[in-house]
């Protein structure tokens, strides 16, 4: 078991996994507060369409993924300003299936090999040094933006009218949150895949929520639980010889169930 830590591929996987976990754990806090679980999943699926369309036209896959994810994030944010005519979940539902369908059509025309399984489930054990550097750069950018805009993001996430009355541009904050989600999803795709990214944007916050009632604990708990899920899942995957993505999601689900159970059993205080 311990000898795995001496293998460069496992060290890179661990480092990339921790970076993705920190990034997704921090964003999961806002996904939880803004009820963006469906949107986060939608953006991840839209990125799939962007990657395959980019491959079809001989463009960099990452650029296609970023464009599709940001386009869906922007369109979703825009639709929420239209009021009751188009709800946010309906908008993301429409844009997601459209992007997925475009991706499937593109896939039919692609002559080269596209690692569809890798896109869906990720391939964390094949992460290269360049992937880790890219991930590190995007993590620094996204986490920096989250720290700098933390106050208006938090305010707009818990009370839109109150924030707007105090001068916060709530539409800009919505677009910022969705854009950061989009960027994270795309760079994490290679490492984690669509399904695992979707799970990591929801599970850490959901598991931390029953344990922490105040935001500093909730935010820290979300990041810590995300790292525990990824590192623990990776270790279980090599121990039990099971796919790492599935191991991470199952461990996350177990932590969520334990957190809910703990919350039910602990005595209530006023």
């Amino acid at each position: 078991m311990i000898e795995f830590f001496s293998y460069p591929f496992f060290q890179r996987a661990l480092l990339a996994g921790i970076l993705v976990a920190i990034l997704c754990g921090a964003l999961s806090f806002f996904v939880l507060l803004r009820r963006l679980a469906l949107v986060a999943s939608g953006i991840a699926h839209a990125a799939f369409g962007g990657v395959t369309v980019a491959v079809l036209f001989g463009l960099p896959p990452l650029a296609g993924g970023v464009a599709a994810a940001l386009a869906v994030a922007g369109a979703t944010s825009r639709s929420s300003r239209l009021g009751k005519a188009v709800s946010e979940d309906a908008a993301v539902g429409v844009f997601t299936v459209a992007a997925m369908a475009a991706g499937v059509v593109a896939l039919g025309f692609i002559r080269s090999n596209v690692d569809l399984f890798g896109l869906m489930f990720g391939n964390i054990l094949t992460v290269g040094a360049a992937d880790v550097f890219l991930l590190g750069g995007v993590a620094a950018l996204v986490l920096g933006a989250l720290v700098f805009y933390f106050r208006p993001l938090l305010f707009a996430s818990i009370d839109e009218d109150g924030a707007q009355a105090c001068g916060v541009d709530i539409h800009r904050m919505r677009l910022l949150a969705l854009s950061l989600l989009g960027l994270t999803v795309v760079v994490a795709l290679k490492v984690a895949g669509i399904l695992l990214v979707s799970a990591l944007l929801v599970l850490p916050g959901a598991a931390a929520r029953p344990l922490f009632a105040h935001w500093p604990g909730l935010l820290t708990g979300s990041v810590v639980l995300s790292v525990v899920m990824v590192v623990g899942g990776l270790l279980f995957s090599v121990l039990l010889n099971i796919p790492p993505g599935a191991a991470i999601i199952l461990l996350g689900t177990l932590l969520f169930v334990l957190a809910v159970g703990f919350d039910r059993l602990r005595p209530r205080s006023a």
Partner: protein
């Protein structure tokens, strides 16, 4: 005591979903006066408030803001107590956080709440028990949460306070506190606007506008 206008609305018309809600509304909100906006349900009172706050755009007409010296300014910070709070009931924030965020809503440092004197003072004035100031708002009663929002409205000492049906979620004690605070704020030269069905419940008004699609001056001091 002079009462310069802090807000002047002229010829405001607003439609929602292609239905005209406000037609050619003109009125002035003056410093040092209690202005009540009364009218029937669906008459456009809350729409008017949302236009003043910048939440909604007007189809036509102008809104101008002034400082107490009469100089025209951009929309200033307005203390706003909504009719129905949009503060998420399970929001993982305390009363201290809510008031702190209203004072420092912009980007930058610090992200952690500091227990600033002005935050404590606003909570004290709103009558929130100090032992509850660090408790997540989800664990507070409806009346206590309304006091938190009232503290947020007062924080930063804005020149204009807009209270949308403020008596709906307050108990008798909360209403007494609110009446006292309104009197104190008016005494300090603030413009206090309340949207209400019954201006006497708020301790009376100096100016009453009736909004029912259009606005008419009903009573003035």
């Amino acid at each position: 005591m002079s009462h310069p206008p802090l807000i002047e609305a002229e010829g405001l018309s607003v439609s929602l979903s292609n239905r005209p809600v406000l037609r050619n509304v003109s009125l002035a909100i003056r410093a040092g006066l209690r202005t009540a906006i009364v009218g029937p349900n669906g008459g456009g009172k809350t729409t008017f408030v949302r236009v003043i706050l910048g939440f909604l755009g007007a189809d036509s007409g102008t809104i101008r803001f002034f400082d107490p010296s009469g100089t025209e300014i951009a929309r200033p910070r307005i203390g706003y107590l909504p009719q129905r709070s949009t503060l998420a009931p399970d929001a993982p924030v305390s009363a201290l956080d809510v008031v702190f965020l209203s004072l420092f809503p912009g980007a930058g440092w610090p992200i952690r709440v500091r227990s600033l004197p002005e935050v404590r003072e606003a909570l004290n004035r709103a009558g929130l028990d100090p032992s509850l100031s660090a408790v997540p708002v989800g664990r507070l009663s409806g009346g206590q949460r309304q006091r938190v929002l009232l503290a947020r409205t007062l924080a930063g000492s804005p020149q204009i306070l807009i209270l949308d049906e403020p008596d709906t979620a307050l108990d008798a004690g909360g209403l007494r506190t609110l009446r006292r605070l309104i009197a104190e704020e008016v005494e300090r030269g603030k413009a206090v606007v309340y949207v209400t069905h019954d201006s006497s419940a708020m301790g009376g008004a100096d100016v009453i506008y009736r909004i029912d699609g259009s606005a008419s001056l009903e009573e003035s001091c």
